[in-house]
Amino acid sequence: MSITNNQDSAQHASFGQKIQEKSHQNILSCYQCMKCAGGCPMNHAMEHCNYEILRMVQMGEADTVLRSNTPWLCLSCKTCATRCPNGIDTSKVMDTLKAEAVAAGIPLSEKRTAIFYDSFLKMVGWFGRLYDFGMVGMYKTRTGAFFADMDLGKEMMKRGKMPFLPHRIQRVDEMKKIMRRAKEKRQ
């Protein structure tokens, strides 16, 4: 085991504390029982199991956790939250880590998912509701996944399940204010 100097430990502690505070989860209480990973539907595809992420947050290994694909594969199914003996909602830690990775400008391991979330929220800010057609168009343009789901898209449109035009709510200015406020708080 390597001995870290005081400055390193302070940095590590502050990362752990920051994630703990922002996620409102008592990460320090995790004692690695691994129940969270036992019920996780994405465990097999994750670079690190969720309890490993919690340990690394405790240890202040910011770079590893923020570059891991694990937070981006979390489906927020909350199986971990329901089963944790210490009441930790690991999915909220994952959400905090995603937000931190975006804010820190770290190259994201699951870029398409980040683009999906962002394209979705753009529509919500512009129209007040999700505009599927616009969101999919923006997502495809930004990811280059032009040909994915073409047949499915046609079937959906044929059934009237993907309206061509958006529905804009009346007080869309309130949405813009909410989005602006969110952005200010992220900075």
């Binding site: 994405m42 329901t82 937000a99 929220l121 919500v124 959906m156 059934r159 399940k161 989005m179 406020r181």
Partner: protein
Amino acid sequence: MKLSYYPGCSLHSTAVEYNDSTEAVFKAFDVDLVELPDWNCCGATAGHSTDRYLALALPLRNLVIAEAEKEKELVLPCAACYNLIKAADHYVREGTPEAMEAVRDMKEITGKTYSGSVHVSHPLEVLSRPEYAAKLPGKVVKPLKGLKIVPYYGCLLTRPGYVAFDNTEQPHIMDDLMKTVGVEVRPWSYKTDCCGGGLTLSRTDLVVDIITKLIQEAKHAGADALVTACPLCQITLDTRQNKIQDKLPVFHFTELMGISFGHKGAGEWMKKHIVDPVPLLKGLHLL
């Protein structure tokens, strides 16, 4: 009787048949669902995943609108909207600092506040209440004999505990409703597994694996179809059976209730499905 109604974005697009069948089922109980004026998207996975503030603020705007309505109960058929809006309501009632801050912001932005007086509920919760349960058998004109299903609750209706109205690990409300309308409910262990919906566009490969497993397990359980109470579970199960040869239809629970009530619009709902449920229903003389 009237109840406030928040359809959410899906019920106006990818799940119109869930919207129509929900309205039809409530109508059969003489309940009008009155759409919340000028409601906005709850933000769904995209909102909470990267912005905790949006996970509170977007649902709160709807709660502010709902509190100004006469009916103090807000019905949400989408499990994702239900989960987020119920959670926001929970945090306001708990008085967490973040929720209080969002409430103050909402006062500034909309001119109105939210005090935590709206009862946020899912149709499954409403329809299982004694006053509905007592009337339900009398509404069934065509018991769905011979139809074998597995109920699929997914994640967001029963987790975490503070949004749940049923057992988190072994929910049964949908099982009970389905049995009452004559459906044979097959036991299986995957009721509350996740469908992967949130990653359906960006990691389709992983989602197809999840759905393949779920459909295979539904077949092992002896089911001819799945029944959901969430538009996102339904669309994911309905559209991601790429690796399955004999695909299984996926119903919204309100569709099966509507068919058993003899609702005339049921044929139209079936046309909206990707995996065609008509051969199964016609084979059993249910449509």
